[in-house]
């Protein structure tokens, strides 16, 4: 029973990642892309890891995976944030890009 | 051909891909990167020696059907050697860039012989 639920959650994570990748290729705007990449990193990875924990049940391995999960939750948003901030500070403006790209896609 | 593993085939191909990079790249940085790829291809070959699907790492009290530990120990040494060679090469390149203002094989060669 546990393994079926775990597998279902893992598949959901894979679907999230897949949708995210389609999004990255669909939108040309840099900031939109960062948003989608962050979704893949955080939501997709977290879902898959939770699936693995459920599938394995209560063990030492699951504990380590949970630790990994905590690190991902802390670090992944930070990296996406820093990328976006650096891009903004180095003169990558949102408004100009926005208009021209929206028309294209 | 039954004894040639899939890892070996891929390692050889990547080895010669990086060789292609070495004989065509005009830029020194790319040559250095190609040497790094070459090293990792050889490492992959080492790890593939005697490997079959379903082998476990050679760690733990229960040592049955495990991978060969010796290539792994050798390969750790090779990795350190690779990074140090890469770092020394790049620091040489930076100094060369400072002095010659160029990082292209042809231009560097011309400028350094003046």
């Amino acid at each position: 029973m546990l393994s079926i639920i775990g597998n279902a959650i893992i598949i959901a994570g894979v679907i999230i990642i897949f949708i995210g990748i389609i999004g990255i290729h669909k939108y040309k705007n840099f900031y939109t892309r960062i948003l989608l990449a962050a979704k893949i990193d955080t939501v997709g990875a977290i879902t898959i890891l939770i699936g693995i924990v459920i599938k394995n049940g209560f063990s030492f391995f699951s504990l380590k995976t949970l630790l990994l999960l905590i690190i991902i939750v802390i670090l992944e948003p930070l990296t996406s944030h820093i990328i976006a901030r650096t891009a903004y500070l180095s003169g990558y403006k949102i408004e100009e890009q926005n208009l021209s790209d929206e028309k294209d896609t | 051909m039954s004894n040639i593993g899939i890892v070996e085939i891929f390692a050889v191909i990547v080895f010669f891909i990086s060789f292609y990079g070495l004989i065509t790249s005009k830029n020194i940085i790319k040559s250095i990167a190609s040497i790094g790829i070459m090293e990792i291809a050889v490492i992959m070959f080492f790890l593939g020696i005697g490997f079959f699907d379903g082998m476990k790492p050679p760690i733990g009290p229960n040592l049955e059907n495990v991978a060969d530990p010796l290539p792994q120990a050798l390969v750790i040494t090779t990795i350190i050697i690779g990074i140090t060679v890469c770092a020394v090469n790049l620091s040489m390149l930076i100094t060369l860039c400072r002095q010659l203002k160029a990082a292209d094989w042809d231009i560097v060669e011309k400028k350094s012989s003046e």
């Binding site: - | 990547v14 060969d68 792994q72 390969v75 990074i83 770092a87 620091s91």
Partner: protein, 306 residues
């Protein structure tokens, strides 16, 4: 399963070679290192995978610094030739394919010998101790190699220092405007993550003889810790000269310990519990590698970037 990752590996290596934009090299190299680490893990070599993953951090940093210098110093950048004729690439491609074909023609069709593997697997626990065969070989049977490998790091650091020796003393640089600086979100998060990194790296070093990991991986992670500190606060208040001297002294210590316990065959002189030698050695190697990578990082990040 491994086939899929090997194909990814091949493609990422092709990307490095083929891509004409030089700056993409960093990203492609990162992908290549990651995929190869995953492949190493698939090949039942967690120690090697960990080492490769840690090392790729340093490779990336070194390449970034190099590119920064390249784009700021070099006048004549190599312009990617848009109209490069296909014909010009035909000769090297043909040559490479010829070499691959020759290589495959001569590959011996003989199964791999397992002579030494079985000996190691059956003997390492009583000879050296511990449960990790890789560490037992790395620090026990082949410690003579490991000594020279440590020497390699020492020598290359001396080489880097010698090649980039501009000024002896360097005033503390503060570049808040260009980097992350005293940026609150980042520094607060790093403060949360640092204890985890410390814990993990010591776990790796101390448990090196029982589980995957060891002195090299743990030591490099400790160096990563100091790198995080530098990136956040942009201070370098460490005395690099002292670190260099410490590295050399630790190398001498490693040599002495190795000679005493392994070369002289004196493991039985002191009736140590099993694994103590490996633990001591892992700790020393960890300190050595941490010092080495730290010096390398500071050299590139602080001295070379000016």
């Amino acid at each position: 399963m491994i086939q899929i990752f090997l194909i990814f590996w091949l493609i990422s290596s092709l990307l490095i070679i083929i891509d004409k934009q030089l700056i993409h090299l960093i990203i492609h190299l990162g992908i290549f290192s990651m995929v190869s680490a995953v492949c190493f893990f698939m090949l039942a070599a967690p120690d090697v995978a960990m080492a490769e993953a840690v090392v790729s951090v340093f490779t990336t940093i070194v390449f970034i610094v190099c590119f920064e210098k390249y784009y700021s110093l070099v006048d004549i950048l190599v312009v990617p030739d848009k109209k490069a004729k296909f014909f010009r690439h035909l000769v090297p491609i043909g040559f490479t394919i010829l070499l691959i074909a020759l290589f495959f023609m001569f590959i011996p069709d003989v199964p791999a010998s397992t002579y030494l593997k079985e000996m190691y697997i059956s003997m390492f626990q009583q000879d050296i101790g511990g449960e990790n065969a890789v560490t037992a070989i790395y620090l026990g049977y082949r410690v003579y190699d490991t000594l020279f490998e440590a020497l390699m790091l020492l020598v290359s650091i001396a080489a880097i220092i010698h090649l980039s020796w501009h000024e002896k003393k360097l005033d503390i640089v503060d570049r808040t405007e260009s980097g992350i600086g005293n940026y609150n979100i980042a520094s607060a998060t790093i403060r949360v993550i640092v204890p985890l990194i410390v814990m993990f790296s010591f776990y790796l070093i101390v448990n090196g003889h029982i589980s995957a990991g060891g002195g090299f991986q743990g030591g490099a992670l400790i160096a990563v810790l100091f790198i995080c500190r530098y990136i956040i606060y942009h201070i370098h208040d460490m005395n690099i000269d002292r670190i260099i001297i410490l590295e050399k002294l630790v190398f001498v210590l490693i040599a002495i310990v190795a000679i005493y316990f392994i070369f002289l065959g004196a493991g039985s002189w002191l009736s140590l519990p099993q694994g103590v030698y490996l633990m001591v050695m892992n700790l020393l190697v960890g300190i050595k590698i941490a010092c080495g990578f730290l010096v390398m990082f500071y050299r590139f990040m602080v001295y070379e970037r000016r």
